[in-house]
Symmetry: D2
Subunit: 411 residues, 4 copies
């Protein structure tokens, strides 16, 4: 048991912190203003190039192709870096460590053909384009993936993709979409679905409307609803084999959830910092607000929740590295529930300390509050993960009366 970073990770943490302090935070305001417009700032490419030059690139892809630019860090090694990036929403993009591209790259890395790699994956790895993952559908409970209704039907050398998806993060900026749909109605339930690469400019890809959550979309990656209206895609765009949809989805969803949690924890640190600043400046009824112990308790409880959320996330990342997704499934579900709840509580407290300002666009509290709420739903609602945690919990093999903990009641 060891809670310290290795020298390598500590070195990266220090380097990253210096980079963020030097290159990102001084430009935080225009960055956030661009985000409010659904954009990345114009200078993003410049920052990305600096990061690439420093080797702070593609840090989050354990299965990074050996000839691709970037570090091949483990999940546990990436954890403190992701958290640091998460302190400023938008920062991960500078390091090509942002959603949804990272989970997409992880999913693609082991599945692409060499032609797919060249056409679709390499530009992503270089940060030249963005991608999207189209899974959730408006008309069914998509958290039970067997409900998915979009179809991917073979038609000669093509597939025809038909269906409606929404809450597709980064949809508008993506050059292609990874679409999950039913390719074989008659297969076993876990072999019915496939993932196919749909170029964004394909005829029949209709952008219906933006779908922000509580008015919020992730910086630079606004979510949209898209109608795939009989979109014709060449057969070579299928990712993996027909029927691989669920397996591919799983390789993607694990990291997606873990990274969201890591970044959320970093954002919670920002919230604590802001709460402290605000409390130390406001006065009510003759006292500085920070002298009220109810305010002190809000900060202290947030600290406890952050530490617990971080350790659980680290241990999950470590377990993913050691034993793979299957063994870590209960932990992934645990952090999904726990981190989103901590994040929501902390954002709620920060909002209360900031008063009306906390609901305005002037601070990231409003973003945190919306995003935390979304995270209790996105990538599976609380209820689905609690169910999963329960099912993965070992069941007792003997009856209650046989437990040595139970006193035999009087005859």
């Amino acid at each position: 048991m060891d809670f310290a970073h290795s020298p390598k990770v500590q070195g990266l943490v220090d380097q990253l912190e210096a980079f963020i302090d030097r290159e990102i935070l001084p430009r935080a305001r225009p960055w956030r203003e661009a985000a409010l417009e659904g954009q990345y700032p114009e200078f993003i490419a410049e920052v990305q190039n600096k990061a690439k030059d420093e080797g702070l690139w593609n840090l989050a892809i354990p299965n990074l192709p050996s000839d691709a630019p970037g570090e091949r860090l483990t999940n546990a090694e990436f954890a403190p870096l992701a958290e640091m990036m998460g302190r400023f929403m938008g920062a991960p993009k500078a390091f090509n460590c942002h959603a949804p591209d990272v989970p997409n790259m992880i999913m693609m890395a082991d599945a692409v053909t060499s032609s797919q790699r060249q056409l679709w994956l390499d530009p992503l790895l270089n940060g030249d384009v963005q991608s999207a993952f189209a899974m959730t559908e408006p008309s069914v409970a998509s958290s039970d993936a067997t409900n998915i209704q979009t179809t991917i039907k073979q038609d000669g050398n093509d597939f025809i993709v038909s269906g409606r998806k929404w809450y597709i993060s980064g949809a508008k900026a993506a050059s292609f979409h990874l679409v999950m749909g039913v390719s074989d109605d008659d297969a076993a339930p876990d072999r019915r679905h496939s993932v196919i690469i749909v170029p964004a400019n394909s005829p029949g890809v209709r952008f219906v409307r933006p779908t922000p959550f509580l008015g919020f979309s992730e910086p630079g990656a606004p979510a949209w609803e898209i109608a795939f209206e009989d979109v014709r895609v060449p057969a070579e765009n299928l990712l993996g084999e027909s029927g691989d949809g669920f397996i591919l989805g799983q390789t993607r969803l694990g990291p997606a959830r873990v990274h969201h949690c890591m970044r959320a924890i970093g954002h919670c640190e920002t919230l604590i910092e802001l709460m402290q600043m605000r409390a130390s400046e406001r006065t009510a009824f003759g006292k500085n607000i920070s002298e009220y112990d109810s305010i002190q308790h809000m900060i202290a409880r947030s600290r406890i929740e952050i530490e617990q959320a971080r350790l659980l996330t680290w241990s999950c990342a470590w377990m993913l590295d050691q034993e793979g997704f299957k063994s870590a499934r209960q932990h992934v579900s645990m952090i999904k529930v726990a981190v989103a709840h901590a994040y929501q509580s902390i954002a709620d407290r920060a909002m209360q300390i900031f008063g009306a300002m906390g609901g305005s666009d002037d601070t990231p509290i409003r973003d945190a509050f919306s995003w935390a709420r979304a995270l209790r739903i996105f990538d599976g609602p609380d209820e689905v993960h609690l169910r999963q945690i329960y099912r993965l919990e070992p069941k007792p093999s003997k009856p209650l009366a046989a437990s040595p903990q139970i006193l035999k009641p009087s005859a």
Copy 2:
């Protein structure tokens, strides 16, 4: 003790329900679409005229001038009507029962000169114009009203109003603003402030930007930040006497809070109805969602919270009628805290049951979630009201050891 409505109130409830079913709900969609644009729908005047014709007008003003159009209902009589209007955000406008105009009319009714009445109050009572109340300031904790910094300085026959206000509900649509500011620095703390009528088109009234809360503004009454830059207003625009600011504010804030609570409870009923509809239609893991008892508990707990919130609000309204604001202060603070919390919890549950759709603009859940959160801050944050509740709680007159409830410990 009697929990039934009087025949008069029951008659109004029935009439109002029929009116809403006939005139408002069939047009709910364009109404809400207009609200998303910060507007009332074009047909609002037509609906208002019908309501006025039916006598469903100005129902919420206990001190309604005897020669003004409308019913002079007590707070308790208005309660079930307000709740019914609250089921659809925007409906109160149809009956001239909406914020912030109603609290403004109540504040003005007993304070206006005959000239003020003619110029400013009567058009409000007729529903011809809208008004706003400018109190909260960005740079101080306005919940402690002694912090307010805007100044109202006499200059010959005029006053000069200077300061910055934000979160002014309905600011953009208002023909005049009731501005709270410091008129006499040297007076006793509770006589330092005045309220003055500032016409919206006065030179120096600068509309800075909209200030939605979590991206949300009340339908038809978007909030704004306004800079009052040395705005010159004739002395006859002062409401009441110089120094009356706090007293006037109190006559306004009591009803403002109570009405918000009443409407919120109505909105909670809508949320329960929507949760039931949604749960009965979605399927996950082989079962209709409504069969999961965790979902059933969410609805049941919401029902408990609504009933408790309603009864507390009714009893507060009744106490306001019987004994006036001073006696009801603890109750006003109690409903302010309790209803906002119930509303937030219920909106949170509804959002969870709706999944991503709950965060979209397609349902009022997103409005409820934002507005409930705002209500924990607007008109005084939880902390200020909890403090007030504590201070109004009778203090024990004898030491603990004298309580008959305490066993004398062994010598």
Copy 3:
């Protein structure tokens, strides 16, 4: 809508308060010390006689036989009196208004034969004896009453009662037990059970052990586990008809739950009083504890919860009076959940303010904490009542898409 007491009730409230102040509280310490020994104090009969003389007797039995001593109050009239008695655990006994005798008397009043009345009910009405109700069984989830396994088998002119019951309040002091058991396995599920009067001294009634909950039993009525070992009881001891068990149980459980809630609310008032006393006397880190706003919030939140719990309970009592148990079922379940939760929260806060002393026997906080926890289980656990609340909630008749609250999403 009216929240004031009638003059009659106000008169009784004043009279009761004076009686308690004069006759009970000065003797509270020996009373509580006796309770810790599982007894009523020796002077209880003397206090009861005074109460009877004053007409403060049998206040809680709406179906009180017209020739029996006592007032025939409605549930709503009794509510504030029950609450006042509840401020001191044990006080209800002085007025023959205590559990489990009152629900037993209510159940018996409409069901007894004249011989049963003379033998069993009249002594109860006079306060000469105590009774018990034996329903819960150790080996099944008794909250689903169909699970009950004790049998009541006819054998000539007798019935043979066989089974194991526990958590029988007041078992040791009772002169007879009202036992619920299966009398006809083949009947419809709601006609399988009967209630029979079992004299406590019948051969085969074996007292197994006391069953306090968290070490606590109600004052003077310690709960026990009893084995009914083929207990022979004359056929005339059957209450009502064979198969009436569930109906009888329901006439009993409604009032039992409502009265528990009323008393619990009174006890919460005691807890608030004690918290205030304690907070005003203790000092930590240079400040009186009552100056910490986290402590103030604990008291304020308790006040909010009490007021809400009281109003819900009053409205439930009123509904029982107006429309009977069937119509009030949802409300009975709501108070069962809401009051127990408020009681537990308030007791938890009081314990925190009292520190270690709160866990000792020196204050009633320890009793409140245990009893509140028990009330989340006794007479049906939270889960059963939440299920009931959900099932009694009206279900929507139209699909979600037809709701005027829902925006039709883009085509």
Copy 4:
């Protein structure tokens, strides 16, 4: 970062598990029955000898004298062992790893004179006697240690100890008490107190009464209230120097809190196991209780809380080892709050699933529920630790407006 045990620790874990399975659990019932009587079972010495023979002895004393029997483990190494012992309340005694003796031994190890070691410490290290720590006083808020009023006055070659202490764990079984009191009123606040060894049989040590918390005392170590009535103790019984009281107290309180947390987490594992057993056996309304998802959620949430509590506790233990108590103070306060809350929540859920049985003495749930509640008060109430966490949180050095996270609002 590494979450695996070292081979040494894993070996001890395996050995300990086997020992508990073989020597302790088969005798769990008589053990617990003895505990209900305030005793250890008669066979405890036999089990202790076996543990000593196996080297499973004094595992929790990092500063164990090199010539004393036992392992010198770090806090982090001890953590998983403590947790395993905690699964059965009472088990720690078998390994001389129980409270309050372990914290007492840690406090004494670096402070005793050689004579004190021989007389008082060695018998403890051998498990021949028990000790107690007398700190909390009934008449002041002892969580602010400066409030302590017991006096330790020099009188020639003796000290006179005078004062009243309560909630002294293990008081009745102890052969000596470590008493904290004021030795020098005029010293600096943190040098006013001393700790002195008071033999239990000294004249003037009056055992007033047992002080269980919610009717519960730790197995074999019932707490008592003691009056120290001018107890004369030889000067050589002073621990350390006069004025060392607070320093000594701190060396003791850190481990005391950490060990309580470790054991509590183990007990939570027992609660999960019991919940699973019970849920799988009970049926209500036609379904096995374990099929209700509300029950599944209770177990899943408990799992999340346990994992988070464990990791926080491990990281705290690791930090204690790496950097000492001063650096770990915030973490100690965090686990003190977090673990007690998780424990209380989990015990509450277990009680709900067990129904009335959960409040009985038949299961350890009742012990857990009481003990968890006590832990929110003992060794410092939540409020004191939240205050501490807040105070140890770094304060921001720049004003809010200078934060890059804040958008400069429009001029």
